[in-house]
Subunit: 275 residues, 2 copies
DNA sequence: GGAGCGCTGTATCGTATGTTACGTATTTTG
DNA sequence: CAAAATACGTAACATACGATACAGCGCTCC
């Protein structure tokens, strides 16, 4: 079973003529980067001519050079999605059904945050902390609890935080209260909900700033969103995991709280005294 | 100091027009693979035209598209050479707010699961999957969304799943429906809510089996509970983190689904056909 | 309500890139 | 040692790719 081009090369390098062998060795030496460049660059690096490179990829079984490159890219993509860090967490001798799920979840989080810079989060937090507008939150069938969770926390440190619940017609009517200075936080992962998309579009038309939590395939709402947070959701289960998005939400809650520190602290104290 | 294109994008995404922002988001979502493909593919994935992609890379400071691609490749190459330091987000020496939060959360999860055996989880899952009784879920001020999340999923694979919402008096009345064969899942972390404790006690008196999600200091409800899941909640933030509990909940959801596989699969299909 | 600006997509163009044909060099074999 | 077969590079070719000019549209600001 051959699963990577590198193996394929190792398998056939013995049967190759001198020129192609040099190509193979050059590719292996800085695998797979050279293969992503142009034929001319590849040939120059290997010290052979362009046609030799093409004959080389043909011998590997590819119809043409672009096809070869696509294959390399797919390989890279797969590699990047399951970071090698996995090996750093010992395979938890237990073995049971728990480990794979936990491991995948941890990977998802690392991967999600890898695509997320401090600056982005701070920007979004700043937007949420900006007290000139209101904050609305809403989610889909399985993600609405995340919206609630976030709303519950934000509502403690600032006023004008509203979770949109209930029937579609209910929240649609709330559109009238929304304007340019307001923020709408939407959670939407596969399978994306039409009702949410429609709602997002209408809100967008009113100039509302949309912060979208979605999965790596991006909900169609992304096109209306000012900020998009793409979380990894794949786990060995019948369900997708929202855990990564949950952690991003918590991180944001923390960031907003920090930015509102002065005001927020007072607010929290007041609130405590009211209980 | 900007060292990666991802950062560069995060830095300037705020100043970009809508179309280019979509390009940026698409790139970040599957960073950096899309950027290595052709302009046509990139533009199609982002849902914009080719010139918009080119304007996008121009705005990032590149003279032309190939130069942009080379830069991405260099980045990838550097990344591949030091697999240990996979983190795209540099260790944020400036005290980035993200890393410590994420690290703490990941630690919490590992620690939480370290104290949780496969057997325990399977037992709880079996209890929840046992279809002779009903399942009720409820949570506290900040944890109720977790109860909702779990309820939303369980309700798909089995009947008789109820989330207890609204006023305290509302759910207190539901006690009348609860008996020995039923399960009550409660989420309660500091500061523990008296109302929940009272409710748990009454349910316990009726012989209801209680599954408690709490923090490492254990809610007083623990004394009534048949199963206790203690999650770590400490993070460098003003708030406690429920992320570990969330992941346990997802794990349980997965386990229950698996145990109900035969029935559950049919149920899910039926449900799909109803939509 | 009108004028101006900026953003975006369509259509066209030039060119860099992959591809192929062919001639020369090198090795292999009888 | 000769002759054939294979390998390799040069050079011409075609295509697909990136780049650009331009027009339509929406938005903002008078």
């Amino acid at each position: 079973m051959i699963s990577s081009i590198a193996e394929l090369i190792a398998d056939r390098i013995g049967t190759m003529p001198a020129g192609e062998r040099r190509a193979a060795q050059t590719l292996i030496a800085s695998y797979p980067m050279i293969g992503l460049k142009t034929v001319a660059e590849f040939s120059a690096a290997a010290g052979v001519s362009s046609p030799t490179i093409l004959r080389f990829v043909a011998r590997l079984g590819f119809q043409n050079y672009p096809e070869f490159q696509s294959s390399l890219q797919d390989e890279l993509a797969a590699q990047l999605q399951s970071p090698a860090i996995r090996s750093l967490n010992p395979p938890s001798p237990g073995g049971g059904t728990v480990s794979p799920m936990l491991e995948a979840t941890l990977d998802n989080m690392r991967e999600t945050f890898r695509h997320l810079s401090d600056k982005q989060l701070e920007d979004i937090a700043a937007r949420l902390a900006d007290r000139r507008g209101k904050t609305f939150l809403i989610g889909g069938r399985f993600t609405d609890p995340l919206a609630r969770y976030m709303a519950a926390h934000l509502a403690v440190v600032q006023s004008d935080v509203f979770h949109l619940a209930g029937q579609e017609s209910m929240w649609r009517d709330r559109l009238i209260d929304m304007g340019k200075r307001d923020v709408l936080v939407i959670f939407d992962i596969r399978r994306y909900q039409d009702s949410l998309v429609r709602f997002a579009e209408k809100a967008h038309q009113r100039g509302v700033q949309i912060v979208l939590f979605t999965d790596q395939w991006l909900s169609p709402i992304a096109r209306f969103a000012r900020h998009v947070i793409a979380g990894r959701t794949a786990v060995p289960s019948a369900w997708d995991s929202s855990a990564a998005l949950f952690v991003v939400a918590e991180t944001l809650i923390g960031a907003v709280t920090r930015q509102l520190e002065a005001d927020g602290a007072r607010r929290i104290r007041e609130m405590e005294s009211l209980r």
